[in-house]
Amino acid sequence: MKQTKLSVVLLAFLLAAMLLVPIASADGTGTDLVTKWQADHTIRITKTVSTHYSNGTLTTDTTYTGTELTKRFGIEKFSVQNNVNVSPEDAARMGLDTKNAAVTSVVSDEVFTAANDPPQQARSGYPVWIYEYSGGVYHQLTEPINMIWSGAYLSTIKTEMTEKGWWDIIAEDTYYIYDGSWKADDGVAVDPVRLFGGDHIRLWQLNTGEVVGAAHEDSSVPHHAVGFESAENRIMAFYQDADDTLWHVYPDNTYLGNYVSSPSNDGYATYIGYW
């Protein structure tokens, strides 16, 4: 009788432990930690977009400044810029003048992190956002991961797109995700230049063998994202042709929590299996 009671108590402990472990895991490694990491790395900055001529250089740059940026990363500013050398004589001919610099400035809260302080892994196990890089610091962009492929090589995945006339060699900026290390993207798009805009996806092969993608629709030049869901849906359709018997498409299947209001992204990634 005593043994039976002991067995029941032990069994109850075992059941309780089975229930508690996933809950504890969810709290410890899941959404809460990601949210906390995001909050810890979000800092108030002043974003200044400036196009000006100075000291022989025509510069179009986006600069982020703020006391917290300096305090955390030891840098005065985070800049992504394009420089072109123009002699003072040519600048005078072109009417370029430091007094006529076009500058817009806005205060916002954005996520920055050092290369050795990567983003916390989401509960899903997949990267969530993409990053631009400058001077040892990564800046999180409002561009979400919204597609996942499993069971296929990156080249096989791209083939489905290039068969539809997409281009594998394109003009694009290089952006990054963190997957054990910082990885640069491999881009595919409807056109090498996309002067009039069009769909564009950045792909990364993860250490697990899976591939994640950040699909978006570019505006006409100068580019900016005008759609996430639209591009996701059009690319997804490439794997749903009648002859695509090995591809299995699950629209908005995996919750990544990377909701964006404008342009809209619902926070779910389309999952495409190859088996």
């Binding site: 072109m94 539809k164 996309r194 006409s220």
Partner: protein, 152 residues
């Protein structure tokens, strides 16, 4: 004898300048309309090569036209007009219906800069002196730099 005397400017050949400008604009438009517009599902495929040719033409044409014709005004048109027309058309047919003020300002600066630099490239090429040709080449490089800054 000054280089200007050796290479006198030719009068404006409006028809030729317009013809070259129209040809460049058509080159840009071909890949879009052969594949059903910017929102089309499929890519431009082999027509994408026409995009690359159009891009190279936009850079080279003002230089080549100015150098060959010595028509300064015409070369300015060839450098400025095609990109203005094409980006104007792109605003009409693209799906970016609600751009922000920042983006609008950025777009205007981008397009005006490219048209200005393209026009100046043609102007200096038409002068056809060693120095002006060098400046024109430099401006062609600047044009490419500004253009690719808008391709993300």
């Amino acid at each position: 004898m000054s280089p200007e005397t050796l290479n006198p400017q030719k009068p404006l050949n409006f028809f030729s300048a317009l013809l070259v400008s129209a040809a460049i604009a058509i080159l840009w438009l071909i890949p879009v309309f052969t594949t059903g517009g910017p929102a089309a599902t499929g890519g431009t495929g082999a027509w994408g090569f026409v995009s690359i040719i159009a891009l190279l033409s936009t850079i080279i044409a003002p230089f080549a036209y100015g150098w060959y014709s010595r028509d300064e005004t015409g070369a300015i048109l060839v450098g400025a007009l095609p990109f203005l027309v094409v980006t104007g058309v792109s605003r009409i047919i693209s799906s970016n219906s609600h751009p922000g003020v920042d983006y609008l300002a950025c777009s205007v600066f981008y397009i005006v800069s490219l048209s200005l630099v393209g026009g100046l490239e043609g102007f200096f090429a038409a002068k056809k002196t060693a120095r002006s040709l060098l400046i024109a080449l430099l401006l062609a490089g600047i044009w490419a730099g500004i253009f690719f800054s808008g391709i993300t």
